[in-house]
Symmetry: C2
């Protein structure tokens, strides 16, 4: 039985983009949307990412085959808790949360048994530094990696939920994403390096510059692409990153400490040949990770 | 007397781009080029950035009205020293070097007196992480700031050299650049923040990742735009940045230390409300420095 009703709980940037991507890739059945900010749901509706806005999200969820949870990690955690007792085994919950270990641990006793609903933990590596349904884009996921950390849990779902999980992966591929399966702990560690560390460095650098040069027109005039790129994520919202800082604390702290030590090393060797070693290593990293065009 | 002959010593990315920008904006007189790597000079010639390659750069320089020095800081320092005794007061030297204090100090006793040649220290805030004449672009300077740190020196040049400096500013504006005049010490401090710090952070992060994950296909697969932007400058050449590290050491070290301390602070407050303060400050910085499109 193909998916006939999908609920999107959280129709901001990612949730609305998923709805648009479903439509652009031929999903013909019903999409129900809800957001705690009714404006976001209204924008998602006007952009045809959803067919209808739900009055009562829990009731809407009980009527759908697949429920997509899209929002900060703690809100996904709340939904997982509220939905577990009211969903049926044939229903599948999936999410787009930035960390996975805490969600998988929370779901372990509530999902993925033949008499419980299914939970397929997902994480598209796509986003923007500005949130909201108005910035959504059905092409947002093209060329991106969409991570799943289902682990052994998927085999224990009901047959119907397993079929929904298979179909969801097919839709994700139609969005243009490449699927990668990871263990949840490894997911959180790798994401600390490639996503969380860049965010916190960008926040720290932006905050430092705002502190030190609050009104320096010259600084603002001469800052070029290098500064723009390094501070772009400074615009990211605290509300989302607080949850990541709280739920992936150790992995993030380890990356920050490692970078602090590396910067100290570089600072102490600005005039020694060891600076060349750092550039050689960095050049090698870039050679193996050539700069692809934006968005790919 | 308008400029009739220009010498470009160093026809890599920036020197070749300047030649192309001159041509695209209607400069009709002669451009002589030289590079210590004859291949770079040949590429600049084939791209019509220069009319002829010089056999002997010092001789070529003596025959030109304006000599543009384009290369790492120490090479510019060498040229300033070699050219001072053989140029005439009517001739103007200008450069595109990344630091200015050490060049201005070096030039102080050799240039910018009525019986000495002129030196107009310049610095276009434009570049790429990949060098070479093959990557040159006559549009590279459009929308960028072109800094000058002439200070009081310009008033002491010969009348002819002053006229050349005036005309050179006009060409720079025709390239599409915005001119900003700065004191040399302030130039080096501001550039440490907006250019050198981003470079060294990108180098340190790239080197750290290469060290820690030399062969991790997953890390490479899931890295998105955030990682690409934060490590793009990891590709930059040591040869250029060594000179900056050696000639702007104190200013660069101060920015690195400040960022190290800021990262430590953030790491120690991942789970406290002070994280919100950092995001608030960073958000404010970005609001005042909205993300302009690339290249502008």
């Amino acid at each position: 039985m193909p998916l006939e009703r999908i609920a999107i709980l959280g129709t901001g940037l990612i949730g609305c983009s998923v709805g648009m991507a479903l439509r652009q890739n031929g999903f013909a059945a019903t999409i129900i949307g809800w957001d705690r900010d009714p404006t976001q749901a209204a924008i998602a509706l006007s952009r045809e990412a959803i067919d209808v806005t739900a009055e009562a999200p829990l009731t809407a969820a009980t009527e759908c085959d697949l429920i997509l949870l899209s929002g900060p990690v703690f809100s996904i955690l709340d939904w997982l808790e509220q939905l577990a007792p009211i969903l049926q085994p044939h229903q599948l919950v999936t999410d787009v949360g930035s960390v996975k270990r805490v969600l998988c641990e929370h779901a372990a006793e509530r999902y993925n048994h033949p008499n419980m609903p299914g939970f397929l933990p997902g994480h598209p590596m796509a986003g923007k530094e500005v949130g909201g349904a108005a910035n959504a884009d059905g092409e947002l996921f093209r060329g991106a990696v969409w991570l799943f950390t289902s682990g052994a849990g998927e085999a224990d779902m009901s047959q119907e939920a397993q079929a929904h999980a298979m179909e969801w992966r097919t839709w994700v591929q139609r969005f243009g994403s490449h699927i990668l399966e990871l263990d949840a702990v490894r997911h959180d560690e790798l994401c600390a390096w490639v996503s969380h560390l860049p965010q916190f460095v960008s926040t720290a650098l932006s905050a430092l510059l705002e502190d030190k040069f609050p009104d320096d027109a010259d600084l603002r005039a001469i800052g070029g692409r290098a500064l723009r790129e390094m501070t772009r994520l400074g615009a990211s919202p605290y509300s989302m990153w607080r949850d990541i800082a709280h739920t992936n604390t150790e992995a993030v702290a380890a990356t920050l400490l490692a970078l602090e030590q590396r910067l100290t090393h570089l600072r102490e060797h600005l005039k020694t040949p060891e600076l060349r070693d750092e550039f050689d290593l960095a050049n090698r990293f870039r050679l193996r990770n050539p700069h692809k065009p934006q968005g790919s």
